[in-house]
């Protein structure tokens, strides 16, 4: 009987131990699994881009004698085309290298026989300059459909675009035509003699619906420092750029018909000729390649000191080529550039991140380069007449450690900055994904919240554990613990929609209350000391002192409110926020860091309070007794014996509060304006890492850069809290060894 009993209890013991082990293991596995899962989403950000060579074919025999002007490739690397000087578009199968079809450009201008040059204006739209001087537009588009058997079938279409038709006469080196929606078109011609002529054709419709077309023309009169070696015109037809043989980059404003204004003439390469020039997607940055392989990007920046004039400034330095940069081709999808040097080395770089994404090397110098409409395929034609086709896989060109954590000079900004702005309405937007403002916001919110919460929670815990009457304590402690159970969305809602407008009205009173209430408390304490220890009054009030303080705090608040109004009128001319802005230049946001401090503090206080109170209450009575028996007052005992003894526990409480504040999402989301700015001011809002994830994950496309960066910030948060907790535990162990057992 007895033996059975021992065996059963031993068995039960073993079972319990096993169960506990399994559960503990499960927790560890779950946490590690979560970390692995979010890391797996974030990691592809840092994979190196890939280019797969799909085909390497030589020019079909039929085309050996043709003068080729341009090439193009479809998205699936199945078909490419070349445009020849006779106005024929030849479609070539990349797998066999056979000529599939030759299509003449539809509606050639009357009398025109050969094409002088072709310019890719935008995705699949080409402008052709004919020998008569006329420019016409043609669209050479690929489309692909998936057949029932799962194969992708590529079809092509060549169509004329009458919009781009612009008459002219004479012989030109190059011509650019840009149609301006509803207003006509502008044409820029580079004449044989290095002169540049701009022609505007404006179309006006009068009240009766009659169209009236006027044409005006003007030549650039500005003296050129040297021969022009490269010209580019933006898509809107507003700015004309030209590079010269001695390395000058010139920029003209031609947006007003009849007016040509020279905006810039900047030395960009250090005397080496500008050999390649093109605009990065979005038409803000211009990429410059020079004769020595230098490769830079520039955009107009408001010069420091000078009032309004914007000057071209070198904002990005890309990886230099080993020889003359012969061509630069912008990606149609992002701020990437494809460039090639005279030895046939192709670089793919991203302007914002300054990352060299890929370097491809052909055997022969490259004559022509083309990217597909989505930027997935790259095709080159070398001087020996061989096509090379690559499939590009560059999912996250804009992300690098530099853009995530460093200052980056974004388009339109006056200096390199930490910016988070992940998306905008337009496609040619430059995503700005610096995590620094978010980390800053997280730390700022946490710091202010802790500043507010820690003193209140710890002093409260000290009072509750050491001074409060046990009966009161048994009610107050659960009440505070219930505070912790309030859903953070409720706290955030109250903070954002009730507290923020309230404090907005009484900012000064809010500040004054931080002075007035403590002063009133000190005064009260002074009078309190007149009550003798163990006198009947003291005995009655012992452990309930705070009840006396409640009316004092209320009166203090009321006084602060009154005084706030007076001070605002007397000192700040009636409007503190206006004064703040006009005198100190500080902007006041309604949802600012004070609101966060109070709201987040409200969420953290019960946590810190409860754990700290437990730790303080666990200090054995005989320690307090020893202190009291030595003639210490209760306050001395609490401060010198109880608090140091409970320090490990109190420290844990603060760290757990800290961890909660770092990870808190809803309150920060609702109580701040979610402005990802780096401002230490207490009057400004912020955006934290966690709130950022909540705000942006719904609009992040699956597996896109933003999506992965958000996961990366989740990993960061994870690491953040992990480090905090580990350090906290290590410190706690140290305190424990040093100060005590409780």
């Amino acid at each position: 009987m007895k033996k059975n009993y021992t065996q059963a209890s031993r068995r039960r013991d073993r079972l319990a131990e096993l169960l506990i082990r399994i559960c503990g293991l499960f927790v560890i596995v779950a946490v590690v699994w979560i970390l692995v899962m979010i890391t797996r989403v974030a990691l592809p950000l840092f994979y190196s881009p890939k280019a797969t060579s799909i085909a390497s074919i030589s020019l079909p025999v039929e085309l050996k004698q043709s003068r080729l002007l341009s090439i193009g490739i479809d998205e699936t690397q199945q078909e490419l085309f070349s445009l020849d000087g006779k106005g024929l578009v030849h479609f070539i199968d990349t797998r066999g290298g056979t000529l599939k079809e030759s299509v003449p450009v539809p509606d050639p201008p009357p009398g025109a026989r050969t094409v002088v040059s072709a310019e890719l204006v935008s995705k699949s739209l080409y402008n052709l300059l004919w020998d008569t001087g006329v420019v016409s537009s043609v669209k050479i588009a690929f489309s692909s459909t998936r057949s029932e058997s799962g194969n992708t079938i590529v079809s092509h279409e060549v169509s004329a675009d009458p919009e781009g038709f612009f008459p002219g006469s004479g012989a030109f080196k190059r011509s650019f035509v840009r149609t301006i929606e509803g207003k006509g078109a502008v044409r820029v011609d580079q004449l044989e003699s290095d002169r540049i002529r701009v022609t505007w054709r404006s179309k006006e419709t009068d009240l009766f619906g009659n169209e009236k077309a006027t044409t005006s023309s003007s030549e650039i009169q500005d003296p050129l420092p040297a021969a022009i070696t490269a010209v580019v015109l933006d898509h809107a037809g507003h700015y004309l750029y030209a590079g010269t043989r001695n390395g000058q980059l010139m920029r003209w404003d031609i947006s007003e018909p009849g007016e040509i204004r020279l905006l810039d003439s900047t030395a960009v390469t250090g005397n080496s000729p500008v050999t390649a020039l093109n605009l990065v997607l979005g038409d803000i940055s211009v990429a410059v390649g020079d004769g020595k392989g230098g490769y830079t990007a520039w955009f107009p920046v408001t010069a420091a000191g000078s009032g309004e004039g914007k000057q071209l400034v070198r904002t990005h330095v890309l990886r230099p080529h080993t020889g003359t940069v012969s061509a630069i081709l912008p990606s149609p999808r992002d701020k990437s550039l494809v460039s090639v040097n005279d030895q046939g080395v192709i670089h793919i770089d991203h302007v914002t991140s300054e990352r060299n994404l890929l370097t491809l090397k052909g055997a022969k110098p490259v004559a022509m380069l083309a990217l597909s409409a989505q930027g997935n395929s790259l095709c080159s034609l070398d001087t020996a007449g061989n096509f090379a086709v690559w499939r590009l896989e560059i999912p996250h060109p804009e992300v690098s450690l530099g853009t995530l954590f460093g200052k980056v000079w974004y388009e339109g900004y006056d200096r390199p900055e930490y910016v988070w702005q992940s998306s905008a309405a337009n496609d040619d937007f430059e995503p700005k994904m610096s995590l620094v403002p978010l980390i800053f916001g997280t730390l700022k919110a946490t710091a202010f919240a802790m500043l507010f919460a820690v003193p209140l929670a710890l002093l409260g815990a000290l009072y509750t554990s050491q001074f409060m009457a046990p009966r009161l304590k048994s009610r107050i402690k659960p009440a505070v613990e219930i505070m912790a159970a309030i859903p953070s969305v409720v706290v955030g809602f109250l903070a954002g929609l009730w507290l923020a407008p309230l404090i907005d009205k009484v900012v000064l009173a809010f500040f004054l209350s931080f002075i007035i209430i403590p002063v009133m408390l000190l005064v009260t304490i002074f009078f309190w000391r007149l009550i003798k220890t163990a006198s009947p009054l003291e005995r009655r009030l012992r452990g309930k002192e705070f009840i006396v303080l409640i009316p004092i705090v209320l009166v203090g608040t009321w006084l602060a409110y009154l005084l706030g109004g007076i001070v605002e009128v007397q000192v700040f001319g009636g409007d503190f926020k206006q004064w703040l802005y006009s005198v100190l230049g500080i902007r006041y946001d309604q949802r600012n860091s004070m609101i966060i401090a109070v709201a987040l503090g409200f969420a953290v206080i019960p946590l810190i309070f409860t754990i700290a109170e437990d730790a303080l209450s666990n200090v054995p009575r005989n320690l307090t007794a020893a202190s009291l028996a030595l003639g210490a007052s209760r306050w001395q005992t609490a401060w010198r014996v109880v608090l140091p003894s409970a320090l490990p526990g109190v420290f844990s409480a603060v760290m757990i509060g800290f961890g909660r504040a770092v990870g808190e999402t809803m309150i920060v989301l609702m109580a701040t304006g979610n402005t990802p700015i780096m401002s230490g001011s207490i009057f400004n809002g912020l955006r934290s890492l966690s709130a950022n994830i909540a705000v942006e994950i719904p609009e992040a496309s699956l597996n896109g850069s933003l999506y992965r960066v958000l996961f990366l910030s989740a990993v960061l948060l994870f690491i953040f809290t992990f480090i905090i907790n580990t350090v906290a535990e290590a410190l706690r162990q140290r305190f424990r060894r040093k100060y005590g057992r409780y």
Binding site: T533, L623, A625, A626, A629, L630, G631, A632, Q636, S645
Partner: protein, 259 residues
Amino acid sequence: MTVPTHNPASPILTVKDLDLFYGAKQALKKINISMQRNQVTAFIGPSGCGKSTLLRCFNRMNDLIDNVRVEGSISFEDQEIYAASTDVITLRRRIGMVFQQSNPFPKSIYENIVYGLRIAGVNDKSLLDETVERSLRSAAIWDEVKDRLHDSALGLSGGQAQRICIARAIAVNPEIILMDEPCSALDPISTLKIEELIDELKRKYTIIIVTHNMQQAARVSDVTGFFYLGELIEAGPTRKIFTNPEKTQTEDYITGRFG
């Protein structure tokens, strides 16, 4: 802190008709006893007889407990301990206490000893050093700890810790030391050391000790009081109590017939 003049013959503590109630329950009933200067007085009696409660009345440690009511009088020299004008803090400096379980603070040995001085606002380094040595010597532990004064007091053995607590009580120079079963958690050798110490200390201090150990009471005390159910049954010179008690209850207890 020192009392200007006193008659050596007059008692240092006089308890008169002391009643003590925990709420409605009476814990001490009409206690009358007086303690002489530089003597060791032992309180013996079974658990719950009120001897510790009485001890705690002398430095008003009972104040910490809710609904304690004290009636009657305890005078410390000429001063009424339970008078409204009594400053508890000063009182406790003059009447030190050593507890049943050694309770060193989680601080260094040095800081433990000087705690009483520090809270009184003494920060003079040489005075503190001097006090530490004097107190530790008085508590007969100086030689054991002099090389590790700045180590944590938590690393000491039970007997050492208890002597540190005695040294801590001595450091503030009290007149009376109350000892609440100071050896109950100690092994015989440590107990012996404490007992020798008590014998040493009574030259300078008046000691009141509560003990369960009758041999201990017999060994260390000059006067013994026997408590039973909140009443002081008998008090007198120790030798007399242990050899020739007046009350049968006392005799029964001492001979081990109950308790």
